[in-house]
């Protein structure tokens, strides 16, 4: 029931957010509210999912649609982690650019989480494959929201890779049982003639299926030689959406592909050495090539994209192993990968926003001005590689040793660490001499001391009486205009920064604030000014004193406070994501046990 609730809430939230956010104004606020509430609800619901498949007597006790959808520990962990990280991403996106930046991100996140839940909860592989393919389409909500014809080209590429990968998996699932049957005949079960006939078809068919599944996963993650899509995507979409588009959207598909290989191909133990070699070479090329590209690229977004691709290369090893033992490490690595790349993606987005550049050389000295952000990147690096004993590290080595013997396994392990110099480059560069861009950026404050407002008094001739002064106040980038008497203007300057005293905010003047300004206007007997203000407020529909509800005023104050501390909050969000990623990489919440859990199988008329 909780699984069904999650799907309903996620679907409704995605639909409302996708409807409201592009419209702007009140619709956007409603869409955001519903979307965020849905995200909170499905995150909480995800943690509350009750894993369980069979009773002691073997009867299904949970599950939807005749036990086709089943909650598992692994599903609970992924949905919970994905939800937590998405909440932080959405918060950061709002801080970076307000509701405009949530337009694609929020509905796409909800849609992807809903579709991904169906895919990963599916006990029927065909259903899982269809849901995983549909999940990838959520990316279009972000991509097609971008301006220019490049958005269409990128959308077309995303559509192609998503649906092609889904079709490949669906066909593979249909072909594998027949190929397995032929392989069984070829192994000597049938007569010699039948075995010879079957052997001609079975091996190649199973090999093609294995390669096709491997290439589908490679295409979905943008591994070599399908990497062109990644750099184009990073150029087009807002940077804070990259964790979703490059990592999380591909997770359900990868999990279903692992299940298909583990359940249908690996148990047959066929001699598919040639196919395995091709996949290992592809993984090696990806690990080396993408790491090199990430190191030499001066574009921060491209570097981040290639770092995602480089780490995704290890996923191919889980398929190439063709060994049931690769099931656990493969599923561990995909979660650790998505978590660490989420932190990395947001770090890059915040750095780009703060220093107003995507050029890595221009970021020299960033660490000196942003220590919290630096701590976030250090933790992200740690989460990416892990240390001995952490499951991220153990998964890397396990996948390498499962797929090849010495000395090739060592080579694969080393290749997995080739992206480390790209991280070190960012850190070392950050400790260097500060560039003008970094020098001009807002530094992080470690203490929460209130900033003194900057006040500029302006006297308007002919409009205001001599006793009135209109002043503009700038607090952390928010400009407000207040009209006070000369006596007030000479008072403590911090009064202007107090929400009740700041008379009229340009963007969203609250009626309570306006009421205070009116009283001061009447004090000096300026009827003309009061009448003009009344007319303006009447046009806004807030002429009646007391119309601004306490909730609205409180919300405005909270939003203003959050925006005022935007720099520190963004760095804190990156740090929080990095801590989550490090915990995941360490193996918190028993990720190792959850990943090793068997995939749910369909209890139906044909399976048992």
């Amino acid at each position: 029931m909780r699984l069904l609730l999650l799907l309903v809430i996620g679907g409704v939230g995605a639909a409302v957010a996708a409807w409201g956010l592009p419209r702007g104004g009140r619709s956007a606020r409603i869409g955001t509210l519903v979307g965020v509430l849905a995200l909170v609800a499905i995150t909480g619901d995800g943690f509350l999912l009750r894993p369980g498949r069979l009773t002691d007597t073997g009867q299904p006790i949970t599950g939807l649609f005749d036990a086709h959808l089943v909650a598992t520990v692994y599903l609970r962990l992924i949905v919970g982690l994905w939800g937590l990280m998405s909440l932080l991403l959405v918060f950061a996106a709002w801080l970076l650019g307000g509701l405009e930046r949530l337009r694609g991100l929020l509905p796409a996140t909800l849609a992807a989480m809903t579709g991904g839940t169906v895919a990963m909860a599916s006990a029927d592989l065909a259903l899982g494959a269809a849901a995983a393919a549909a999940t990838g389409l959520a990316s279009l909500l972000v991509i097609l929201g971008a301006e220019g014809p490049a958005a269409v080209a990128a959308g077309a590429r995303e559509l192609r890779v998503t649906l092609l990968a889904g079709v490949v998996l669906l066909v593979a699932l249909a072909v594998v049982p027949i190929a397995a049957r032929l392989a069984l005949l070829a192994s000597g079960v049938a007569t010699a003639a039948a075995a010879a006939d079957a052997a001609e078809v079975a091996g190649p068919a199973m090999g093609i299926v294995t390669l096709a599944v491997g290439f589908a996963v490679a295409g979905r993650w943008g591994m070599l030689p399908f990497h062109v899509r990644v750099s184009r995507l990073t150029d087009l979409v807002p940077p804070e959406t990259l964790p979703l588009l490059l990592a999380w959207v591909a997770v359900p598909f990868t999990v279903v592909a692992f299940a298909a290989v583990d359940r249908l191909v690996a148990p047959l133990a066929l001699p598919l050495d040639g196919e395995r070699a091709i996949l290992v070479v592809l993984a090696l090329l990806t690990l080396v090539g993408a790491s090199l590209a990430a190191f030499v690229h001066d574009d921060l977004r491209h570097a981040v994209g290639y770092l995602v691709v480089a780490d995704a290369g290890l996923l191919l090893l889980a398929i190439a192993a063709l060994d049931p033992d690769a099931w656990g490490p493969g599923r561990e690595w995909v979660v650790a990968l998505a978590a660490s790349k989420t932190a990395l993606g947001l770090w890059a987005a915040v750095a780009e926003d703060r220093f107003e550049t995507r050029s890595i050389p221009d970021l020299r000295g960033w660490l000196r001005r942003s220590p919290l952000l630096g701590a976030g990147l250090v933790l992200t690096t740690l989460a990416t590689f892990g240390i001995p004993g952490w499951i991220a590290f153990e998964a890397r080595t396990a996948l390498a040793t499962l797929v090849a013997g010495p000395p090739l396994d060592s080579l694969l392990v080393v290749a997995g660490f080739l992206s480390l110099p790209a991280y070190l480059r960012l850190l070392v560069l950050g400790a260097g001499a500060v560039t003008s861009r970094v020098d001009g950026a807002t530094p992080e404050r470690i203490t929460l001391r209130r900033r003194p407002p900057e006040t500029l008094s302006v006297e308007l001739e002919g409009v205001e009486p001599a006793s009135m002064v209109t002043s503009t106040t700038t607090v952390a980038g928010v400009i407000s205009v207040s009209r006070t008497s000369v006596r007030k203007a000479n008072g403590p300057a911090r009064d202007a920064a107090r929400p009740g005293a700041a008379a009229v905010a340009i963007d969203s003047a609250g009626a309570a604030v306006a009421d205070g300004a009116d009283r001061r206007a009447h004090d000096v007997g300026d009827r003309a000014a009061a009448a003009m203000r009344a007319r303006r407020l009447a046009r806004r529909g807030t002429a009646t004193p007391g119309r601004a509800t306490p909730a609205v005023a409180l919300g405005a104050r909270v939003a203003a406070t959050l925006r005022r501390n935007r720099t520190e909050l963004l760095s804190g969000t990156v740090l929080a994501l990095a801590i989550l990623a490090a915990l995941t990489s360490y193996g918190a919440l028993d990720l190792s046990g959850a990943a090793a859990e068997p995939a749910p199988i369909l209890v139906g008329r044909d399976s048992d």
């Binding site: 649609f65 005749d66 086709h68 169906v118 599916s122 029927d124 065909a126 259903l127 269809a130 849901a131 393919a133 549909a134 389409l137 279009l140 097609l144 220019g148 014809p149 490049a150 958005a151 269409v152 080209a153 959308g155 077309a156 559509l159 192609r160 998503t162 649906l163 092609l164 889904g166 079709v167 669906l170 066909v171 699932l173 249909a174 072909v175 049982p177 027949i178 049957r181 032929l182 069984l184 005949l185 079960v189 049938a190 007569t191 003639a193 039948a194 075995a195 006939d197 079957a198 078809v201 184009r232 150029d235 087009l236 369909l602 139906g604 044909d606």
Partner: protein
């Protein structure tokens, strides 16, 4: 019933030919509808009513969304890489190849079926010698052969979408031929995939019309984009009279 289903497989292929070779968007969408709807029925044993209903609903919805997205499209599409005769010839050859390949596969399964373990429902119709799975595999190969060039070398959003939708239909035909009667819930999943895929194709088509006024995919980030998207006539310009 069996001959009807074999003829239906032929109609599915005809619809795919129309979807790929048509010069007007509306005709292409009608061809796609025919291919997608028919593909769900070429199965032996015949699918259950719930699964069929889901497939029909998903297909209709997906195709209708594409139809809506084409409201403001130009009347004529960019020239197809193959015309009607070429597309039809490719489809016929692929259909025959698929039919014969299915026959060979069925023979291989039959020769070992008495000694080996039971197949269950997997490939049962193929082993039994029914022509329906052969027609389904033939149609699947024809659809895939027609669609893949337009997916891999896509130049306009509509034909890319047509190719992808035809590939989904081909995957469904392969499953019908090899797996047997599909599970109702799995059929519902595939129906949802078709509907969402149709929505995705419609969104990309609408985006291309809104931004460029036509269906051509213009990648402005590519340095050679101008060369890639030049008109076909420019290759063989006629000398001025």
């Amino acid at each position: 019933m069996t001959p009807v289903l074999v003829v239906l497989a032929g109609l599915v292929v005809a619809g795919a030919v129309a979807a790929i070779a048509a010069t007007t968007p509306r005709l292409a969408v009608l061809g796609l509808l025919l291919a997608l709807v028919g593909a769900g029925y070429v199965a032996d044993p015949f699918p259950g009513p719930l699964g069929l209903g889901a497939r029909l609903a998903g297909t209709t919805l997906g195709t209708y969304l594409i139809w809506i997205a084409l409201r403001r499209s130009p009347v004529a599409m960019p020239a197809a890489s193959v015309g009607w005769p070429g597309a039809a010839a490719i489809a016929v050859v692929a259909f025959v190849a698929g039919w014969l390949g299915a026959g060979t596969l069925g023979a291989a399964l039959v020769s070992g079926s008495s000694e080996g373990p039971g197949l269950g429902t997997v490939g049962a119709a193929l082993v039994a010698g029914s022509p329906v799975p052969r027609a389904a595999l033939g149609a699947a190969l024809a659809l895939a052969t027609l669609a893949i060039p337009h997916v891999v070398l896509a130049r306009d959003t509509l034909r890319l979408g047509m190719g992808l939708m035809l590939l989904i239909a081909a995957a469904g035909l392969v499953a019908n031929a090899l797996v047997g009667r599909p599970d109702d819930v799995a059929a519902l999943g595939v129906a949802l995939l078709v509907a969402f895929a149709g929505a995705g194709v419609a969104a990309v088509i609408e985006g291309s019309i809104r931004r460029g006024g036509d269906l051509v995919i213009r990648d402005s980030l590519r340095p050679d984009a101008v060369i890639r998207h030049r008109a076909a006539d420019e290759a063989h310009r006629r000398p001025p009279a």
